[in-house]
Subunit: 381 residues, 2 copies
C-alpha cells in the first residue's frame, strides 16, 4: 500500500467548540432543542434570521472534534498520516487581548493530540511512516492580536513544538487583506523560519456577486463553497503578487487550498493583464508592478493540494506548478456523504480517482502526490 498523507484535514478542538457555543454572533454553535446534532454557523450567509435557528448553518457531529473519529476516517480511506489544522474561521474573530492566549491554547492542544496518537502508534520508533498511523499539525496564528510581534513570536514558538509543520491562515491577514504592508514582519518570520503557510478561504465573495441573497436561499452553499471559496483564494494570492510580496520575500512557501482556487487556470490571464496594465511602470504608469511572474511564483513559492475533484483541475495544477508540488487532501470533516454515514466518502474517492486518472501511466507520480511530496517537503517521519 502506498504512503498516503492528508494535508488538508481540519479539526475544531473541544475547547474551540465550547468557545463557539458561548457566542451568539457568527461564528457560533447552537444546540437545537430537539437534541439533534449541534448547528455550526460560520458563514455570514448562513446567519439568516428567516431560517429557524435550529436549522441554520450545518449540522456537525463528533467527526469535527473527536480525534478518534478522524483516525477511523483515515483507516477507512487508506490514509496513514494527517496534517491537521484548525478549521475556518480560525482565530480571526477573537478579541485582540485574547488572541495570544487562544493561539497558544489551540496550538498546544494540537501538539498534545499529535504526540499522543504518534506515541501510541510507534512506541519503539522503529516503523516507517507508511507502517503506522500518525498525525502532524499546522498551527493557528493570533492575527487579531494588538501587534504583529505577537504573531511573529507564535510563528517562532511553533518551531519548538515537535509535531507542528506550518501554519494555516485565512485571507484577511491582519484585517486588511494580504497586500497590507504591515504584514511584512509576518512574511519575514515565515520566510526566516522556513514555515509553510497554508492559505485557506473562508469569507467568499459578496452575495451580490451571485445575484443577491436570493441565490443563497435557492442554491444553499453551492455558490459560496463552489465559487466563493476558490475565488477568494485566487484574489488573496493575486493581491500578494500585485503588491510585490513575492519580490520582497522570494523564499516564502505557501500551500494553496483547493488546488489554488483557480490560480493555475487563470495564471496566464493574470500574467497577460499585468503585462498590459498602464498603471504599472512597465506600462507607462507610476505604480511598481510585480517583478517576478506568476509562473515563476507558481513553480517556486506555491504548493497546491489536489482537492479539486476532477482531472481538468488537476491537469492545470500539474502544468502550472508541477507534480512535485501537489499534495493529496480530503477537506475532512467537511463534505460528508448526505445519505449514509457508512462507506467511503465520495468527496474523498473523487479526488483519489482524479489523481489516478491524471497520472495513470506514472505510478511514481501517483505515489509522490499521494504522500511522497508531503513527507519530503514537510519533513514527516
Amino acid at each position: 500500500m502506498p504512503l498516503v498523507i492528508d494535508i488538508h484535514t481540519h479539526v475544531y478542538p473541544p475547547a474551540y467548540m465550547e468557545m463557539l457555543r458561548a457566542r451568539k454572533t457568527v461564528p457560533y454553535v447552537h444546540d437545537p432543542s430537539n437534541n439533534k446534532d449541534p448547528r455550526l454557523v460560520i458563514l455570514s450567509s448562513d446567519d439568516d434570521p428567516s431560517i429557524p435557528i435550529d436549522q441554520r448553518g450545518r449540522p456537525v457531529d463528533s467527526s469535527y472534534w473527536d480525534i478518534e473519529v478522524k483516525l477511523a476516517f483515515m483507516r477507512q480511506h487508506g490514509i496513514n498520516c494527517s496534517v491537521i489544522s484548525l478549521a475556518n474561521p480560525w482565530l480571526d474573530f477573537i478579541e485582540p487581548n485574547e488572541a495570544q492566549m487562544w493561539a497558544e491554547r489551540i496550538n498546544n492542544n494540537l501538539e498534545e493530540t499529535c504526540a499522543g496518537v504518534n506515541k501510541a502508534a510507534d512506541i519503539g520508533n522503529t516503523l516507517t511512516l507508511d507502517q503506522k498511523e500518525t498525525l502532524f499539525a499546522m498551527g493557528a496564528l493570533p492575527l487579531s492580536a494588538p501587534s504583529s510581534d505577537i504573531v511573529v513570536n507564535e510563528i517562532k514558538r511553533l518551531k519548538t513544538l515537535p509535531h507542528l509543520r506550518g501554519v494555516i491562515m485565512g485571507t484577511s491577514g491582519l484585517g486588511k487583506g494580504l497586500d497590507d504592508a504591515t504584514l511584512d514582519p509576518v512574511w519575514q518570520a515565515l520566510q526566516d523560519t522556513d514555515t509553510l503557510m497554508f492559505l485557506h478561504p473562508h469569507y467568499g465573495l459578496p452575495d451580490e456577486a451571485f445575484g443577491g441573497p436570493d441565490a443563497t436561499s435557492r442554491y444553499g452553499h453551492v455558490f459560496p463553497l463552489a465559487l466563493g471559496f476558490p475565488l477568494e483564494t485566487t484574489i488573496a494570492v493575486t493581491r500578494m503578487l500585485l503588491s510585490c510580496v513575492f519580490d520582497r520575500f522570494p523564499r516564502l512557501k505557501i500551500l494553496l487550498a483547493h488546488s489554488g482556487g483557480t490560480l493555475p487556470f487563470l495564471a496566464g490571464r493574470i500574467d497577460s493583464c499585468i503585462h498590459h496594465e498602464r498603471k504599472f511602470i512597465s506600462g507607462g504608469g507610476d505604480v511598481q508592478g510585480p517583478q517576478r511572474s506568476v509562473w515563476d511564483v507558481l513553480k517556486t513559492n506555491i504548493y497546491l493540494d489536489a482537492v479539486v475533484y476532477g482531472k481538468p483541475g488537476l491537469e492545470a495544477a500539474m502544468a502550472a506548478s508541477g507534480s512535485d508540488r501537489l499534495f493529496f487532501g480530503t477537506d475532512h470533516p467537511f463534505f460528508p456523504p448526505l445519505d449514509s454515514k457508512e462507506g467511503d466518502w465520495p468527496s474523498v474517492t473523487t479526488n483519489y480517482k482524479a489523481i489516478h486518472a491524471t497520472f495513470d501511466t506514472n505510478s511514481e507520480m501517483v505515489a509522490e502526490v499521494l504522500g511522497g511530496n508531503a513527507a519530503r517537503i514537510l519533513d514527516l517521519k
Copy 2:
C-alpha cells in the same frame, strides 16, 4: 498555412461609437481636449471622478471601429477568417423603446460589413476558406426591450442574414441574470433556431471582492479583467446550470469566453458541491437541483475559446470539453501592445504558443483548434 479562424474579436461600429459619444454616464466615449485618442469608459470602476476625465477609461484608436484595421491585424497574425461581434456592454444599457432599432441597425451593419469584405475577397466564389480573407458575425440582442418577444424575433431574423452565425450576450440576461425564468422564451428560440450563443463577461465582481476601490486605483484593470471577468462568466453559467436551464433546453449551444472563465477548473468542485447540497431534493431538501451534471453539459452544450494565455488553462479546457470544442480567438482590439503599434501582439502570440504547447504532438488537433472546429460548427465556408 493552416486555416485560422478568430472566433473572439470585437468591433464598435461607427454608429455605436457616435451613440457612446453622446452619453455622459457609463458606458460613454470622451474626446480629450488634447486631440489624443478618445477615451472609452465602459467599466463602472473606470468612471472614477478622482481621475481627470481626459484620462479615464482606456484610449481607443481606429482598431475599434475601422474594419480595414482589423483586416490588417488579421493579415499580420495569419488569421484567414474572423467572426466579429459587438464589444461589451453591447446593447444592455439601451432605453427599452430603442432596443429593437439599435439591434437591427447594428446587426444589419455587421451583415453589410461582412458581405462587403467577402465579396471583394472572392468574386468568383471559387476559393476555399483558407485561401481568402473573410468575415462572419455574431449578432447583438435587444435584451432591454419591453418584451422578450422582441428578442425572440431578432434571433429568428438573424437566421435570414447570410453572414450572421450566432449571437453574443452578456451575463445580465433580461436584467436579472441568467437563472431568470423569464428568459425561457429566449433559450427556446436559441435552441429551436440552433443558434450559438457567445456568453461574454462585462460586469465583473463588486469592488469589495478585491479589497474595495483602493485596489482598483493601485492595480488598474488587473482585478476586474483578470479575475472579475472570468468569475462573472463562471457564475453566469453556473446560475444557468443550477436553475436547470440545461435540463429544460438540452440542445442549447453556448460558447464561453476566455475558455469558460474558470468553469473547466472548477467543474469538479461545482459537481461535488451540488452532490453535497442539503437544499436540493437529492440532499434531503425541497429545491429541484440540476439533473444533468456539469461534466455532461461541458461536453454537450459548451464550446470554449482558447483565449486563456497558457498551457494549464488550455489543458483544463481540453480535459473538460474536448479538443473538438475549442476555438482559437484573439480578443482583438483589446489588449494591444503598450510599447509599440508595430509587430505581433503578445496577447495573440501567447495564445498561439499555448495551443502549440498543449497539442504539440498532434498537428491535427492544432488545426482543429485553430480553425477546423469553428468552420465545422459555425458552418463557415
